[in-house]
Subunit: 298 residues, 2 copies
C-alpha cells in the first residue's frame, strides 16, 4: 500500500447527527487519522423508511464520500448498517464496515446467560440483523428486539433527563426487563443519550452495549489488516476533520458541539440528491442516446 493511500481520510456517515458518537470514538482511538463525516440531515430519520430507500440514500452518500477520496467507509447509522450494508458492500472497492456486526460481537462477549435485548428503530428491528449475527456467533443465544420509535424525537427535543422520557422508556422496556436479559444493545446512535432513563428501568445488573466503541476498534483492526493505517499523522496546520450535511449546516454545527469534545468550525451543505444513481444513469442514458443520434444522424 502506498503512503498516499494510507494517508487518505476515513469516511463516516449517518442519517443525521447521531453518528457523531461513532466519529468521536474513531477520533479518540486513532488521533492520527483524517475523518470526513456526512450527516443526511435533509432526509433524517432513516428508521421508519424502507430498505430500498435507505439503500438508495446510502449509495448516494458513498458516491459523495468517494469524491472526498476516502480509503475506507464506516456506516455509523444502525438502520443503514442493518438494511443496506449487505448490498452496498459488494458494490464498493474500498473497505466498508457498519455498526451492527461490532455491536453484536460486543454483546456476545459480555452476556453470561445468553439472553440479549436489542433496542433500535423499526427498520433495524424488523430486519432481524442483530439476531442473525448473534446466532452466527452462538446459535443457542436468545434475542429479544424492541423498536423504540419515540426515543429519537425525545433526544432531538432535548428531554434527556425527564419524567416523560422515563415513562416512555418504562413502557418500551418493561417487557424486555421481564425477558431476563443480562445485556442490552443500544442499537441506534441516539440512544446512548438516554442512558440514564434506560438504566433506571433495566437496573444495574443489565450491561448496556453501545456499539460505537466496538465499531472504532473494528475499524482500526480492519485498517491495520489491510495496511491502511495512517503513517504521516496530522500536521500542526492541517485540518483533520471535515463535516458535510444535506441540510441546515448551522444547526448541525451547534448540535455537533453537544456530541463532540471540541467545537467544530462548521459543516458544508451538499446537494446529496445529485449523487443519485438513477438520475446519473438516466442522464448518462439520455446522453448516450443523443450522441448516438448525432453520430447516425449526421
Amino acid at each position: 500500500m502506498t503512503g498516499q493511500e494510507k494517508d487518505k481520510a476515513i469516511g463516516v456517515f449517518d442519517s443525521g447527527v447521531g453518528g457523531l458518537t461513532v466519529f468521536r470514538e474513531l477520533m479518540e482511538l486513532m488521533p492520527e487519522e483524517r475523518i470526513v463525516y456526512f450527516g443526511d440531515t435533509a432526509r433524517v430519520p432513516y428508521g421508519s423508511k424502507s430498505r430500498e430507500t435507505v439503500t438508495d440514500y446510502s449509495r448516494q452518500i458513498i458516491r459523495f464520500l468517494r469524491t472526498q477520496d476516502v480509503k475506507a467507509i464506516v456506516v455509523a447509522c444502525n438502520t443503514a448498517s442493518a438494511v443496506a450494508l449487505d448490498e452496498i458492500e459488494g458494490e464498493t472497492d474500498i473497505p466498508i464496515i457498519g455498526v451492527v456486526k461490532p455491536g453484536a460481537l460486543a454483546a456476545s462477549r459480555v452476556t453470561k446467560n445468553g439472553r440479549i435485548g436489542i433496542i433500535a428503530t423499526e427498520a433495524t428491528i424488523s430486519s432481524g440483523i442483530y439476531e442473525k449475527y448473534l446466532k452466527e456467533i452462538r446459535p443457542q443465544m436468545k434475542i429479544f428486539g424492541k423498536a423504540c420509535p419515540l426515543f429519537v424525537p425525545l433526544v432531538e427535543e432535548g428531554w434527556l433527563k425527564d419524567r416523560i422520557t422515563e415513562e416512555i422508556a418504562e413502557r418500551y422496556l418493561t417487557g424486555l426487563k421481564g425477558c431476563g436479559i443480562d445485556t442490552l444493545v443500544l442499537g441506534c446512535t441516539h440512544y446512548p443519550m438516554l442512558e440514564g432513563a434506560i438504566r433506571q428501568i433495566m437496573g444495574e445488573e443489565v450491561v448496556l452495549v453501545n456499539p460505537a466503541y466496538e465499531t472504532a476498534r473494528e475499524c482500526r483492526a480492519m485498517l491495520m489488516e489491510q495496511g491502511l493505517l495512517s503513517e504521516k499523522g496530522i500536521g500542526p496546520e492541517e485540518k483533520a476533520y471535515h463535516f458535510f450535511v444535506s441540510d441546515a449546516a448551522e444547526k448541525f454545527k451547534s448540535v455537533a458541539n453537544m456530541f463532540l469534545p471540541m467545537g467544530i468550525e462548521g459543516a458544508q451543505k451538499i446537494p446529496i440528491e445529485q449523487f443519485a444513481y438513477k438520475s446519473r444513469k438516466g442522464a448518462q442514458h439520455i446522453y448516450d442516446e443523443r450522441v448516438q443520434y448525432i453520430h447516425t444522424g449526421s
Copy 2:
C-alpha cells in the same frame, strides 16, 4: 376554459399521510372532482427541515404532479405552505393554494377576543406565517405560537388516547392556555388526530380550528372563480383518485385507511428525486459540454 381543462384532476401533496385529512375534505366537498395525491413518505418529516430543502422538495413534487396533468395544486402540508408557497406560487402557471391562509382566515372568523394560539412544527412556527396572515386580516390580534415536535411521532406511534400523550400535550399547551386564547389552530395535518388530548388541556371554551375543511372550501372557490370546476363528473367505471408516494407504498395504503372513509386500492411509488431541478439541470449541463466536445473535437 375548455371542458378538457376543467376535467383534469386536482393535485394534492403532503410530506406524508397527514395531508389525507385535506384530501378527505376535498373529496367530500367536491365529489365530482378527480384528485391525485402525493405523499413524500421517503423524506418525511418536513417540520424540522430548512426552508431551502422544503422548497426544493416542493418543487420536485409539483414537477411530478404536472406530469399527471393537474389543473390546480393544493399544498396540504402546513410546513410546505408556511415556508415554500410564497416562492413556488410564482413559478407555476396553474392555481396553487396552501393550508395556512385558509387556516388563518378560519381562525380570524371564530375568535371573539382576538387572542389566537397556533400549534405546529418548528419550521411553521419559526416562519411566523400564521401571525403574518392574521395581522393582515386584523392588525390588533394577539398571536401565540408553540412548536410541538413530539406530536407527529406520537400520532405515528398510534398513541392517540394515551396517558403519556396527555402529559406531553399538557407540557406543550399549558403556557398557551395561560395566554387567554379563545381559538387554537391545529397547524399541522397530524394534530387533529390528537384532538382528544388537546381538548382536555384547552377546555371546551377554546375553539379548535382544523384548516383542512376551510382549505377545501377555499379550493372550491378558487376553481369556481377560474372556471375550473369539473362539469363531467366521475363516470361509473372511472377511477377518481390516484395515490403516489416516494416510499413504502404498502404501508401508506394501510395507514390511508385510518384517515379515509373508504379503503384505497393502493399507492404507486415514484422516484421523486428524479424530479430534482438541480440534478436535471446538472445532467443537461454535462450533456451540453460533452456534445460541445464532440463537435469541436472531431
